[in-house]
């Protein structure tokens, strides 16, 4: 009778979370370059795709798999500070650690702000966000300025995120990037009693379809069509 060796890796991230993460990476780059080069139609589509992804991620944070849920990674400030001060010792988390959870929440909020201001923004020449005509030109111009300032904040958060991931990789020897690609972590870095539940991907697909529908509706309000 042969005994199977214990598994070396355990699944922690579902496909929707991973797709969300890397799609956001790609779309922020597309949005940046398209705005920079004046390709505003592409900027509009990438921005509204980010909106659809954010709406999906919020829904998935409530209805999704264990590690995707807000209640799994949002912690009170005291716990986050304690984690950053090392009070959790060598404790591992299946999903986001308290600091990482804060980063996720911050990025979702800041991206929502960015998309929200973008809906009312204008480029002063030919392009207007889908809701720009619902406000006065001064308000639209003001929100355009906020849109630019918030982007600097996004760059700062991305810088913090990359520095933190690099710290885990190069100082603590803990690779956070690979699990976000494969979905799996080495067993020793996952608490044994995690009891992770994974929601089926077709639920995610349904939620994303609804989110995308909202984004298309927003687009249509500005007279734009796919």
């Amino acid at each position: 009778m042969s005994v199977e060796p214990p598994p070396t890796h355990v699944r922690v991230w579902d496909l929707p979370v991973r797709l969300f993460h890397w799609s956001i990476v790609l779309l922020i780059a597309v949005s940046w370059i398209s705005a920079d080069q004046g390709y505003m139609q592409i900027h509009l589509i990438s921005g509204l795709t980010i909106l659809a992804l954010l709406l999906f991620r919020i829904a998935w944070g409530v209805l999704g798999s264990t590690t995707a849920r807000f209640r799994d990674f949002l912690h009170p400030p005291g716990r986050i500070i304690g984690y950053l001060k090392g009070r959790d010792g060598n404790k591992w988390f299946a999903g986001h650690n308290p600091a990482g959870g804060l980063m996720v929440a911050a990025l979702i909020l800041i991206l929502l702000t960015q998309v929200g201001t973008g809906l009312f923004a204008n480029d002063g020449v030919r392009f207007r966000g889908p809701f720009a005509l619902l406000v006065s030109e001064d308000t639209s111009t003001w929100l355009t300025e906020i849109h630019g300032l918030v982007f600097d904040l996004i760059l700062l958060l991305i810088w913090c995120h990359i520095v933190a991931v690099g710290f885990y990789l190069l100082v603590k020897g803990h690779n956070l990037i690979a699990p976000m690609v494969t979905g799996k972590k080495r067993t020793e870095y996952v608490p044994p009693n995690s009891n992770l539940i994974f929601v089926r991907s077709y639920i995610a697909l349904l939620l994303f379809a609804v989110s995308a529908g909202i984004a298309v509706w927003v687009m249509a309000q500005g007279g734009y069509a796919l």
Partner: protein, 315 residues
């Protein structure tokens, strides 16, 4: 790809020193690929002087106003499309996030000139459609300024179209006009009632008076003219052509302190009375019509820079 397994190879101190160095290198790279950002940073740190244009330079007097009118709503203090500001000489030289927009001495290859010179149908044309376009003279001014070095000091550029003089139309100031007319208003009204049509104000905003008795014919004589005596300080023009005014009124006319234009043709004034007009210090134009006179009589008037019209037989 392994989910972990890379043992810690750097101390926290070494890692954060590396991060700081990489961040500084990133900034340096951004300053290099985005010269406008680079110049802003260097100027902010005091490592680069901020170029200033002189107040009387060609840039300040002719070029900046064009940018102000056509460009700064998108490239100014409130909004900086493509990272470009055109509301100051320093910002203009700094350029956009894509680099310099002007090449001093080379207008044809300056991005700013290329953009303002594109046909309106081109999506890259500036100002974009819907905004007030630059006139050909405006484009020439910018082209010559860049071609001559885009100086912030130089005051003139040879060949630049001359500025169109600004015509200032005086504002309607009824209260002020009323105040100026008030002292003589009663006499003016009285004469206008007695001799309808001969007396009027020079314009809607003026308190100066004009007398035109030419349609009165022989009914207007010395007595009627001299009845205007209370108003003489305010009369700037008198037309007594065809009236029965005689030489006896010449001293009266010469004594009008504001009289600039006098038309005598067809009246009963003769050459003998013209000499009396030499006393006038305000007269600028004299129409003598068919009065027979001589150059000797007119010479003193011409000497006083009075322009004389007519003269049937000037000997």
């Amino acid at each position: 790809m392994s989910s972990s397994g890379i043992s810690g190879r750097l101390s926290a101190g070494a890692y954060f020193c590396s991060v700081a160095l990489l961040t500084l290198a990133g900034f340096a790279l951004a300053m290099f690929v985005r010269p406008a950002f680079g110049h802003s940073m260097l100027q902010w740190m005091g490592l680069e002087s901020v170029p200033q244009a002189e107040a009387r330079s060609f840039y300040a007097t002719r070029v900046s106003s064009l940018f102000e009118t056509h460009c700064t709503s998108c490239h100014g203090e409130k909004r900086q499309k493509a990272g470009l500001r055109l509301d100051s000489y320093a910002a203009l030289l700094r350029g956009s996030k894509h680099g310099a927009v002007i090449r001093p001495g080379d207008a044809r290859n300056s991005e700013l000139f290329i953009r303002i010179n594109l046909p309106a149908s081109d999506s890259r044309a500036m100002p974009p459609s819907g905004k007030t376009p630059l006139t050909p003279d405006d484009v020439t001014i910018i082209r010559l300024w860049i071609a001559q070095g885009a100086s912030g000091v130089r005051r003139t550029i040879p060949g630049a179209p001359q500025p169109v003089p600004e015509v200032k139309i005086p504002e309607d100031a009824p209260a002020l006009t009323e105040k100026l007319r008030a002292p003589l208003a009663a006499q003016v009204r009285r004469i206008q009632m007695e001799h309808p049509g001969i007396l009027s104000y020079q314009s809607r905003n003026s308190a100066w008076l004009e007398v035109n008795a030419s349609l009165q014919g022989a009914a207007f004589g010395d007595a009627q003219l001299q009845a205007l005596a209370p108003l003489r300080a305010r009369i700037v023009q008198v037309d007594i052509s065809g009236t029965s005014v005689t030489d006896a009124s010449a001293p009266f006319l010469a004594g009008m302190p504001a009289l600039e234009v006098l038309r005598l043709g067809g009246s009963r004034i003769t050459s003998a009375a013209l000499a009396a007009l030499e006393r006038s210090n305000s007269l600028r134009s004299l129409t003598i019509g068919d009065i027979e006179t001589s150059e000797d009589t007119l010479a003193p008037l011409r000497k006083k820079h009075i322009v004389i019209h007519g003269g049937a037989d000037v000997r």
